[in-house]
Symmetry: C2
């Protein structure tokens, strides 16, 4: 059996391990519908324990870092060489799916298990990393676990409250076994300059691959974003019969601002420029809203993302112009609240080409795919680590309970990853 066929067979033999891991993870934070493993929650910690147990079974060196990320290391021949990291996150959005994030950690473990089965000792460490707190819905801060490990948390992040509990990130990190004081002092778990590469497998978060009939996508880039997580519009609560000229309706102002940006998006889309605009929270004030009251308060979150900094700048200008025009015309005030941004994540051409060559050798169909979503890999890219990503076909989109991923498709991605690891670190 040639090397490629042996790799493929070793990967396919991991099916049972992969299925068992997903079954175990599915008992972690089940909310019916879906799964809810908030960032730095007991449910997320449960998922870390499950993957760590699997890593221990594979005789990997298990470590919990100061941000409570889990690393599982297959030691290389020369432990002083910069390691290869394979990672993704183990938290979920509220009522999300079992695969978004976790599939990347399972893929890393399956690849390392295949290397074990092939009795290959890599020249350098290969570390599978279960990352904390990637889902920014909880603290409204991006890439918390990755950036904490890299010593790149933004100022003030440790004091941000979790949206459900109201307790700070620092409190939640400490509760789940991390060391917020060390993070506050600027300590980091990883030195970006001493990481050889970061690879992430992730389910696709849209059905593009399903539409194309292709199991695996090769990431061409991760979009940057500009976010306003907590915009508040204040108008005036009035009786339902209030004539139009007296109204200061905060909800209609919110609707107009949102649709102004939606039209900008539609125009860019028609012109072939990919981007996305999402008003994830978009709501009247549940404490006081009612059938017979004109809404005097409206709240929304905004995420704008694009693959080029200029497009982000243009989008943000369109948003601010809409806020100004609508608020003046409707007689409302708009408090923008906090603003966050993340740069565009650039993929390493060398690793991307290596992954494409591996897929070609294995006879697995892939296609280039811009990631519409943000990923931990972007935090590593920003820190200067060569990065690449593979996406796995998913018919139903993610951040919902209906995520659909075939284990065969995941194993296709694992085979590509493993073949690349062999070529990159095991002497081809």
């Amino acid at each position: 059996m040639d090397r490629v066929s042996a790799i493929d067979a070793a990967v396919r033999a991991q099916r049972g391990r992969v299925e068992a891991l997903f079954d175990e993870l599915a008992r972690c934070g089940r909310t019916d519908p879906g799964f809810t493993r908030p960032s730095y929650s007991p449910e997320e910690t449960g998922a870390h324990a499950i993957v760590a147990r699997c890593g221990a079974d594979l005789d990997l060196a298990i470590h919990r870092d100061i941000a409570a990320n889990t690393t599982m290391t297959l030691p290389g021949q020369d432990r002083s060489l910069p390691p290869i990291l394979i990672g993704s996150h183990l938290d979920t959005v509220a009522q999300g799916g079992n695969f978004d994030g976790a599939a990347g950690v399972v893929a890393g473990l399956a690849a390392v298990a295949a290397l074990r089965a092939l009795r290959l000792i890599p020249e350098r460490d290969i570390t599978v990393m279960g990352v904390r707190a990637e889902e920014s819905v909880w603290f409204q801060v991006s890439y918390i676990g990755s950036r904490a490990a890299l010593g790149a948390l933004p100022d003030g992040a440790l004091d941000v409250p979790r949206i459900d509990s109201g307790l700070s990130l620092a409190v939640h990190i400490a509760r789940e076994g991390g060391d917020p004081d060390a993070l506050r002092c600027g300590r980091s778990a990883l030195d970006a300059a001493a990481i050889h590469a970061f690879l992430e497998v992730h389910i696709e978060q849209a059905p593009s691959l399903e539409e194309a009939g292709i199991p695996v996508g090769l990431c061409t880039g991760i979009p940057g974003n500009v976010r306003y997580p907590d915009v508040r519009i204040v108008g005036r609560h009035d009786h339902v019969g209030t004539p139009r000229r007296f109204r200061r309706d905060a909800a209609m102002a919110g609707a107009e601002i949102a649709l102004a940006l939606d039209r900008v998006w539609a125009a860019h889309e028609a012109a072939g420029c990919p981007m996305a605009v999402t008003f994830g929270r978009f709501h009247t004030d549940t404490a006081v809203h009612g059938l017979t009251t004109v809404p005097g308060a409206f709240h929304f979150s905004l995420d704008m993302r694009a693959y080029a900094a200029e497009v982000l700048t243009e989008l943000e200008a369109a948003f601010l112009a809409a806020v100004k025009e609508v608020s003046e015309r409707r007689g409302v005030t708009v408090a923008l609240g906090s603003r966050a941004e993340a740069g565009v994540g650039v993929v390493s051409p060398r690793i991307r080409d290596g992954l494409a060559a591996a897929a070609d050798a294995l006879g697995i169909a892939i296609r280039p795919l811009g990631s519409p979503a943000s990923h931990d890999a972007a935090a590593f890219a920003k820190a200067g680590v060569p990065m690449a990503m593979l996406f796995v076909r998913n018919a139903n989109g993610s951040h919902n309970p209906d995520e659909a991923m075939a284990v065969d498709d995941l194993l296709d991605a694992v085979a590509i990853l493993t073949a690349w690891l062999v070529a990159e670190a095991c002497g081809g």
Copy 2:
């Protein structure tokens, strides 16, 4: 002193009683900001007890009817003649004001107190009525107290849950001293054919009178309405990066439907046709919405109101057309939920002219005013009772904590009402 001056003086002498009543009511359901006296709540019952105590002080006959409305009767010379009713409601919206509703009951008591002071015995009973449950935000049913008294509750209303407690109207009526079983058997407290007239004083719910510098408005009509209290849009929750062509964004669909109707309103307004469209609740699903999730669910309430049945029909058609167009284009489904309607409330020309003549004699400036809001008076009009209303100037609109009513303005309305009562029922 002539008759008109004597009436005016007797009314102005009620200032202390009126102020004391508002002070007492302000201790009932204070939520800071504002006042919250839900329909059939202990807070609403507290307000009924306060006005009943005042009625007892005036030696009126106090009665609680099967719907737990409070009636306070000044007996006439011939008790068999159809009585004149003066009433309004004592519940509020959440964090509403102290005057919306209550001012009408206080006005009735002040008018009767003035008649007592003038030592006038009317030819027929004059009954001040504290009405239950006018604010349809709580049970999403209009004019509950009035219609229950008139035996005109819509089918199924007794089983509707209150929006906050989840308990049925029947349970809440029983808790506050009413008799839901009697209502269920079709008993009524009032025979519409045996009521001489229903008069209601109410604060204006917009600042039209403030704008015009006039203390009192004479109602020209009460709008009919069509309501969809619980519309639900179902799309699909997706990851924030999902490309446009895959999205089924329920919130953007809601925004488009709302603004389609808002444009219809703006066009009618420009053409001089008064109406109102209100999306009082307008929100993503708070259990699952988040910064990084495309909204797969959106909810709204809709109240459309106009002074002509044709306009209502046209508005509803525009709404349903927008629902169809937007839902097809956005790939979402729209469940309209329940629908309710109330007919246009016609004012008695005879009483309206009588009130205008009284204002003229007193030298109080009034102006005709279409009520933008619904009122208990509309339920009496629909039952065939001759009806009229007076509005009192309010700079800040109602259904908010900042309602502003000068006692002098209210006393202007009470003076007009009292002069009319004297002319109508005390031999002029």
